[in-house]
Each structure stands twice: as structure tokens, then as C-alpha cells.
Amino acid sequence: MYPFTYSRATDVADAVRDKAGHDGSAYVGGGTNLIDLMKMNVEQPAHLVNVAKLPLSKIEDLPNGGLRLGATATNSDTAWNEQVKARYPVLNQAILAGASPQLRNAATNGGNLMQRTRCYYFYDIATPCNKREPGSGCSAIGGFNRVCGILGTSEACIATHPSDMCVALAALAPTVRVSGPHGERSIAFEDFHRLPGDQPELDNTLTEGELITSLDLPEKGFAKHFAYLKLRDRHSYAFALVSVAVGLEMDGDTITEARLALGGVAHKPWRDQSAEQLLKGQPATAETFGRVAAHVVANAVGRGSNDFKIELARRAIVRALKQAAEGQQVAGDVYLGGQ
């Protein structure tokens, strides 16, 4: 770990100003990912601006019928929030599927979006990694890539975004409010994370110094027909090999609106709007689900040890759609994942 200076911001303006005043600085929320990366010399910020205590921890109704999730509300407080449980249960389930209670108690909502990949090589500075060290090469291509992506990858990077929460958010399509040196702006969640292309070092579209202040959920929460399905190498405390978030609106057996997003398969939470269109107006049948699932993975590319993810994703989509259509899942104390 490299030495760094540290300050605790009192308000958003103070945080933005403090960060702008320090080269090579970073915001830190719960620190559940950044501090680990610093210990392994993957990240070497010269200055940390602690934003965990900023007055951004509220979860409150929005005038448009939506719900604002404060950036510094913890993942736990968000998952357990009565409004979230009642109106956005897919978010409740996705958050509870991730990490451990201890980590969720510390991790913030803004920080969840800012998590970095769990690709083995990104974490090990003894190996080349374009995301960590642009131009050094991708070790995962041709290496061990069980956790790596199958959709939207590039020859520079096949890393995945590791979040569960963000997969549910991708399906719910909130806007991400940010504050920076040039003022405030809103980013559609879909546009927040990016694909690796030839700049895998960039995880998202934030510009220098911007700080997430809230996630604004739209009114529609798909509380009746939803699913979050997470498949992994042990039953808890493991990152998703493939996860699927689904939200449906149904009229009898007909799907009138659909949201479908995948985790563990791409550099960003992978929402597939063309698949959502394919579901619209269709009967909730195995045939429909199979057709849509095949569509989602049609352009998927395996890299060896992650080849299985293509078939696994296809099957997981079918299962999650079925669970959502049947209304099997409920928001609750324990992530049951419908498995």
C-alpha cells in the first residue's frame, strides 16, 4: 500500500472541491473494494476524500412517484428499506444476493456502482492487465477466464462488472445523479457503465471529479412479477457466474412490458432492450422464454474456461423469466434466488 493523505468531506461541494485540489485523489465510501485494491497496490490514490458521512444517506419519495436512493445509504439500509422491499423487490433480492451482511453494512450505494472488476489478473500486479495498466495486455484472454465476460467484450478486455445490485438497477433503469466541478447532471443508468472497447481502464462515463449523489428510481418497480437469479460457485459470498434480473408487467398470461438484465457476463450490467421488445405482447410460455434467451446470447463469445456461461446464461434467462411470470419470488430476509 502506498502512502496517502485523507480528509473527510462535510458536504458535496466540499468533497468536490477537496478532490479537485488533490492530484491522483479518489472518493471513498464504505471502502469495501477500494481499500483492498490499495493493499494490493492495484490502486494507488495519493489522497482519499471520505464521502461516507455526507448527508446523502436518505431514501425518500420523489415527486414523480419514484424513489431516491441516497448515494451514501448503505446497501443494507437500501435492501431493508420498506419502500424498496414493497415497490422494488428485485433490488432487495439482488442486494441480498451479494457479498455478506458485514460488507453490505459498510458498502454504499454510490460505491456499489464504482466497484471494480474481480478478474483474477486485474487483482494480481504480477500479471499484465489492460484495465489496470493500459497497453500491458489482457492475461484473461488465453488464460483462466471462468469469471470473465461473454457479451460486449473486446480484444483488450473481457472483464465483468461484479455487482449484483447494479443488475437489478439496470432492469429498473434509474437515473444516476452526479455532482462535479462543472455542476450537477443526471446520467441514465444504461449509460453509466461502459463497454471496454480499447479503453478498458475506464469503467464508467463519469468525468474527472464527479461524485454520485443519488440513484433516482422511476415509479415502475415490477413488484408483482420479478426475479433475481444468481448462479455461482458456492451458495453465498461468491460473485455471480451469471445472474439475471427480470421485471415483467402482465395482463393475464400476456407480457405487456419487460425488463431483462444480466450480471457476470459483461463489462457493464447487461440490459438487453431488444430482448425486452421481443417479450412485449408475447404469452409467458417456455417457447417465448427460450426464444428470447437464445436472442440474448446469440452474439456471446466464450474464451475457453468461460464457454459454459453462454449456455448457462441461456438457461438462467429462461428460468428467471419463468419465475417472474409466475410471481414466485418475494422480498425477504434471505436471498433464496429461486434456485
Binding site: 500500500m1 502506498y2 483474477y120 494480481d124 488464460g143 471462468r146 458456492r234 457466474l241 448457462l312
Partner: protein, 743 residues
């Protein structure tokens, strides 16, 4: 039964309150004054040479005390034998900081010592090292045809017995036969506690090393021979351990580094490995096994052939007993066992919980399941038809063997009779259901051990032996043995361990501690008891006049005649009347070879497992495990049960998730952290029933105990693998069984 019959009951851990209160001190918690901190620098390449270590750049940082490497390490012992610890395998042990050669990835190549841990870690990150890289080979597949038969080298290693009967002919003539290869990758012990050594500099070349180890004497011997220290100047202490599992059997490079720095800097030094470095200190080796079996028309085994090949380092021939058990667990007249190693550019493997047996058991017990199916027999019935009443490897009877009772009791508890034989024939909750079983065998060993017992005039007993406590319950069972032997309540007894100032005990491994140290503790207490009896007989009116030691017993704080309980004296009265402030006695217990020699000494177990498999998604949930263990006499029902529960968790991990992945391009483990090396978590663990089948066995040792640290793991992995086959009809022969293998 009396209040002071403690053996076989289920008292709580005597060290539990200390642990809960944070008062049990682990090796990284001895905060001696003026402590410096060392941080190990690990090689990023698998093979090559260090050309230059730019140490001066780092030495210039204020607070950095020194950078140790092969460039400046002082003259140390030269001969290989000086570096050989008690269980070193054949070959040349790894010598840290000895030469510029790099022979495995993550090899420790430098130690940065500084005033603070943070500074040492930072300085280590800055240290520039120039390498010359050479081509490496880390893939066992590439060495399939280059296996060699190792020498005897390592203590405890038994080369496979020679073939018996005519295995090939019997296989050719068998009614049914199978042949299959089984594989598992490397696995690491991953105890929660990191390897840490705090060396206290006591001045004048004298040190105390608080070291995470399963054998303080093994470490002391290593340190004295490598650094030329006198024993009295080199005390090694380890009173508590956050898990060992075999990782602490050999002295690790953390203790070498800490002692080196302390002696050179004449200062107290602590070295703690990182979690990543915990993947550079030995592992269960990547192993390939070929099994061939054939049956006679009556379902008895006609032929059994088991060959294993596993990796070792370029410098040591690490060996373990993988195939021998296959010649012992079942009755078979035609047996061929083979065992080979292949050298790779990796660190030496190291004994890991049930070394050898855990690996070989998977091959044998999955093959037995395959054979049962080929012969059209229920897997349990098949095993009963091939039950071994003698150990055919050595042609001796077992001193005791209640495996049949294990089968019966566990099968009944599990409900094995509800199982239908056909794969894919059982379903529940929309899932495929499978039931499988597997059994195992492990050594019941006893090693020479010493102990000292001291009783004070107020009747408080202290017993000491320099054994280890890696969380298994050693403090508690030794307290029970001592208290029962001298008729005292547990509260009146203190057992002390883990210090080279104490009487010598062997490394804590091989499941032999209960038998070995337990016998020494009992002997020391008996020797003390004899002294107490003599004192009690001094008064002219002693009710014990003329009694021999065998005629008396210590019960409830009294010493009395076995045949006339009214003829008794109060222990404390005897001690106080004697005028002595304390009495003490020593013991040195050895196995009774004459008594043991005619017999084969082993513990046995069986595990039954049920799984639910989601056929579409490949996910596996173990829903129940029943484990039955026959390991002689159980000293403490509670700690013993905990040991078996832990063993089942280990077996499950091996079956379903544990594997250290080597990227052969780099010759480097890539999942060397707790996020990606998966060990089971609570959500993976089902209800576990543990059954102990009591065996009366006064041949193994006077206490009749066989040890339970390892035997409980056997059978579990195969039972789960077999249950997955029963559920799905898919036979996965390479562990772990990850979900993609079932898609």
C-alpha cells in the same frame, strides 16, 4: 460413575472463555517492546534468476531498517540436512534467500524490515528487482509420462506394498470390470490465521519465537541447526493456533525470515504473510489416479488396481500415501498399487488434512460406486460383500474394526433403504435427488511423547507437554485425562502446551495427538499418583497401608481402595500433611511395540450424503450428511463431534468447490485469495449427523483412542460425488464438481 469421570463426556472447551474474551494470544499478538516489522517480497515469475535487487533505493527510506536477500544474507548452515525438519521429504529443502535462483512462483526473495508494518509493506512495493526469466513447466498433464517412483525419504511415507495375486489376469477374467481416471487440482489449507512469527530479542543472541506452528520442537530444531543457535537460547512458543490442517507441520519461511532479521538487527521482529503468500507454503498436490476393478459373479472383487501420479517441486520429492489404503479397505486377492511423482516448477506440496488418503479415497470410493453399478449391486451391499476382516497389505488382523457397525448405523440414520438404485429415479422440490456413500480408513498412530505433572499442596494440578492446539480441543481432552486420572474436578487442572521449555511432544499431526500426548499425560499423572500414594501411606494409621497403586483409585478428590471405598483419604489432606509445597512427576510414553506389532491399527468411517441437483442450471445443494466414525474411544463427545463436522465441511469443499487454479502461462496461481478460492460457507452446509461407533481397543494405546482429526473427512467427498451421479446419471471424475460440469 463419579463426578471426576470426565473421559467420554462432553465438557465445553476449557480454553473457550479465553478465546471469546480475546485473552488467548496468537503468534501475531505478542506485542513486545521495540518491535520491527518484516514484509516478504515474493517472486512474480516461476523460474529464472535474480540479476539485481535495487535494495539501496529502499534502504534510503527513513524508517526502513534493512532489506534482506541472497545478496546480503549472512553465512548460514550449508548442508541440506541442517534445513531438514522432522517431516521433510527426500531431496533438498527450500532455503529462503539462499541463492539468486527462482524455482517457483511466489518464492520469497527478499524481506524488507522497517519500524512499522505499513512502511515495510510500502517499501516492499517500491523494491525494484531485475530478473532473467526462464521457461517453466507447471502443468502435470505435460508430465504424464515422466512420473518416477520416489524413495522412502519422508517420515510416515510407506511405498505401496508389492502386487499380490495376479491382478491383470483376474481383471481380464472378471465378470464385470471398470477402468476410469480421476483427477483433482491443487488445494490449499487456508487456515484463517495467517502464518506469523513474532521473534522477541532477549539480548545476547537469545530469542523467543512466537511462531504459528503445529510443532514447536520441530521449529526449534530447524532454527538451531540453520542459525547455529543453542537450544536454551532459542525458545519457540505457540499456545493457540487459528487453524493448521497440516500447513504448520513444517517450519515456514515466515519463521526463517523473522529469526534472520532479529538476529541480524538484534531487535524483536514480526513477519506476517499475506493471504496471497499463504498460497506459497505448500498444498495438496494436483493428482491423477487410474483405477481398474473387476468383480466375480458373486459380487466380490476379483481385481483392484490403483495408480496415482502427483506433482512435486524440482527440489523435493514430496510423498503421501495415496494408493495403499486401496489394498486394505476391501478384501481382494489380486491387487496392484502404483505411485509416482512428477517434478514441476512449483513449491513442494505439503501434508494437508488426511494427506494421501483424502486423494486416494476419492479415486477408490468413486470407482467402487462405478463398480457397484457395473455389477448391478447396491453400493452399500457391494461394500459389505467385500468387507475386509484382515489388513491384506500386511496380512494382519485389525486391532479393532467396527466399520460394519458404522455402515449399519449410518445407513439406518440416513434412510439408505429409501434409495432407489437407478440414477435419475428420485426427485423432490422440482430437483433431481441423489444419495451416495463412501467410506475410508486412516492410521491409528502413537508417537513418543513426554509430559510433566505438578500438584500443589492445595490440590491444584498443572500438566505440561509441548504439543500443539490448532483448535481441535487438545487443552480440553488433556485436562479431562489428567483430572480423571487424579480424581479432580476439571477446574482444579491446568494443561499447558506449545512451549519448547516443556517436555517434548511430537508435531501435532497425523491424528496422533490424543493417543500420544494423552498417554504421556496419563502416565505423568499416574507417576504422580504413585508418589501421592506413598505419602498417604506414611502415617501409621493410614487406611491405605500395604496397598499397591493398582489397588487404589483417585475419585472425587479422594484416594481410596478400589474394593473398599470406605478406606479413603482426602487428597488435599495428604498433600498438606506431607509438608511439601508441591509434588511433580515426569513421563515419557512410547507405543507398546510388542503389543501392537501383531496387529494393523486403523480408524474407519463412512459417510452418506444426499444432494439435490437443479437439472437445468447444474446447481448442487447437499441436503444431508450422516457420518459414522469408528475411532476407538472418544474422549470428548463435543470436541470430537466438532472435529467430524469440520471434516465433513472439508470433504464437501473438496467435492464441490476447492481448487487452486494455476495459469500455466505464468506458472502462477491466479485465485490466490479468499474471494476466488472457494471454501464452503454456512449456506453450503446442510444438517450433519455424527455417529461414533465405540471400539474397545487396548492394543492401540492404554487410553484406547485412535484419533479423529482426519478420518472424518474420508468418504465424504466420494459420497457427494456418488450422490451427484445417482441424481443426474453423470459421472464427474475431475473434482471439484462445479455446475458447468453438469450442464
Amino acid at each position: 460413575m463419579t463426578q471426576t469421570n470426565h473421559i467420554g463426556k462432553a465438557p465445553n472447551r476449557v480454553d473457550g472463555p479465553l478465546k471469546v474474551a480475546g485473552a488467548a494470544h496468537y503468534s501475531g499478538e505478542f506485542n513486545v517492546p521495540d518491535l520491527a516489522y518484516g514484509y516478504v517480497v515474493s517472486s512474480p515469475i516461476a523460474k529464472g534468476k535474480i540479476l539485481k535487487i535495487h535494495a539501496d533505493e529502499v534502504r534510503a527510506l527513513p524508517g526502513v531498517l534493512e532489506v534482506f536477500s541472497h545478496e546480503n544474507v549472512p553465512h548460514l548452515a550449508w548442508l541440506d540436512k541442517s534445513y531438514k525438519d522432522q517431516i521433510a521429504p527426500g531431496g533438498s529443502p527450500f532455503r529462503p534467500l539462499h541463492a539468486p535462483d527462482i524455482t517457483f512462483n511466489q518464492q520469497p526473495i527478499a524481506l524488507v524490515v522497517a519500524d512499522t508494518f505499513e512502511l515495510a509493506r510500502y517499501a516492499a512495493a517500491l523494491l525494484r528487482i531485475d530478473y532473467e526469466q526462464e521457461a517453466h513447466e507447471t502443468n502435470l498433464e505435460a508430465k504424464r509420462t515422466e512420473g518416477f517412483v520416489p524413495g522412502k525419504g519422508k517420515a510416515g511415507f510407506q511405498p505401496p506394498p508389492p502386487p499380490r495375486g495376479n491382478p491383470d489376469k483376474a481383471l481380464a477374467n472378471a465378470t464385470h470390470s471398470i477402468e476410469a481416471e480421476y483427477a483433482h487440482g491443487a488445494q490449499h489449507h487456508n487456515p484463517m490465521e495467517l502464518f506469523t512469527t513474532t521473534v522477541e530479542w532477549r539480548g545476547d543472541g537469545k530469542i523467543t519465537a512466537y511462531d504459528k506452528t503445529q510443532g514447536v520442537f520441530n521449529v526449534q530444531n530447524y532454527l538451531t541447526s540453520v542459525f547455529g543457535l543453542k537450544k536454551e537460547d532459542c525458545r519457540v512458543v505457540n499456545q493457540f493456533m487459528g487453524g493448521g490442517f497440516g500447513a504448520g507441520l513444517r517450519p515456514q519461511y515466515s519463521v526463517f525470515m523473522a529469526v534472520l532479521a532479529s538476529l541480524e538487527l538484534k531487535r524483536s521482529v514480526r513477519v506476517t504473510l499475506t493471504r496471497q503468500q499463504m498460497f506459497s507454503i505448500g498444498h495438496r498436490p494436483n493428482t491423477l489416479q487410474l483405477l481398474k476393478m473387476g468383480t466375480n459373479p458373486d459380487g466380490t472383487l476379483a481385481s483392484l488396481q490403483h495408480h496415482a501420479l502427483h506433482e512435486t517441486s524440482q527440489f523435493e520429492d514430496y510423498t503421501e500415501n495415496i494408493v495403499n489404503w486401496s489394498g486394505m479397505l476391501y478384501q481382494c486377492e489380486n491387487v496392484k498399487l502404483g505411485y509416482e511423482l512428477a517434478k514441476l516448477d512449483i513449491y513442494s506440496p505439503q501434508d494437508m488434512r488426511a494427506p494421501g488418503a483424502a486423494s486416494g479415497n476419492v479415486g477408490l470410493e468413486v470407482a467402487m460406486d462405478e463398480m457397484a453399478y457395473a455389477a448391478g449391486l447396491d453400493p452399500l451391499e457391494f461394500r459389505l460383500r467385500n468387507y475386509a476382516d484382515r489388513d491384506q497389505n500386511v496380512d494382519k488382523p485389525f486391532s479393532s474394526k467396527k466399520l460394519r457397525e458404522c455402515y449399519q448405523q449410518a445407513a439406518a440414520k440416513f434412510g439408505w433403504e429409501t434409495r432407489s438404485q437407478e440414477p435419475r429415479s428420485m426427485r423432490a422440490n422440482g430437483k433431481l435427488v441423489g444419495m451416495g456413500m463412501g467410506g475410508g480408513v486412516w492410521d491409528a498412530a502413537q508417537k513418543k511423547s513426554a509430559a510433566k505433572a505438578i500438584i500443589s499442596a492445595d490440590g491444584k494440578l498443572t500438566v505440561r507437554s509441548g504439543t500443539g492446539e490448532n483448535g481441535t480441543g487438545t487443552y480440553t481432552i488433556m485436562t479431562q485425562i489428567a483430572a480423571e486420572t487424579l480424581g479432580l474436578p476439571l477446574e482444579a487442572v491446568t494443561f499447558e502446551l506449545g512451549d519448547t521449555d516443556q517436555p517434548e511432544a511430537p508435531i501435532q499431526g497425523g491424528s496422533w495427538t490424543a493417543a500420544s500426548v494423552g498417554t504421556a499425560v496419563k502416565d505423568a499423572c499416574d507417576a504422580l499418583g504413585e508418589k501421592i500414594l506413598k505419602l498417604a501411606q506414611k502415617p501409621a494409621d493410614s487406611p491405605l497401608k500395604g496397598a499397591k497403586y493398582d489397588d487404589v483409585e483417585f475419585v472425587n478428590g479422594q484416594l481410596r481402595l478400589r474394593l473398599d471405598h470406605d478406606q479413603a483419604v482426602v487428597l488435599r489432606d495428604v498433600l498438606q500433611a506431607s509438608g511439601e509445597t508441591q509434588l511433580e512427576a515426569d513421563s515419557s510414553a512410547q507405543p507398546n511395540m510388542a503389543k501392537q506389532q501383531p496387529y494393523s491399527l486403523h480408524s474407519h468411517n463412512v459417510a452418506f450424503a444426499e444432494v439435490e441437483v437443479d437439472e437445468d442450471l447444474g446447481t448442487i445443494k447437499v441436503t444431508r450428511v450422516v457420518s459414522a466414525v469408528a475411532a476407538g474411544r472418544i474422549l470428548n463427545q463435543k470436541t470430537a463431534r466438532s472435529q467430524v463436522l469440520g471434516s465433513v465441511v472439508w470433504g464437501l469443499g473438496m467435492a464441490l468447490m476447492e481448487e487452486t487454479i494455476m495459469d500455466h502461462k505464468f506458472g502462477r496461481y491466479v485465485n490466490h485469495n479468499f474471494a476466488e478460492y472457494h471454501i464452503p460457507v454456512n449456506a453450503d452446509i446442510p444438517h450433519i449427523d455424527v455417529i461414533f461407533v465405540h471400539e474397545d481397543d487396548d492394543i492401540v494405546n492404554p487410553l484406547g483412542v485412535k484419533g479423529i482429526g482426519e478420518v472424518g473427512m474420508l468418504g465424504v467427498t466420494a459420497a457427494i460425488a456418488n450422490a451427484v451421479f445417482h441424481a443426474t446419471g453423470k459421472r464427474v471424475r475431475d473434482l471439484p464438481i462445479l455446475l458447468d460440469k453438469l450442464l
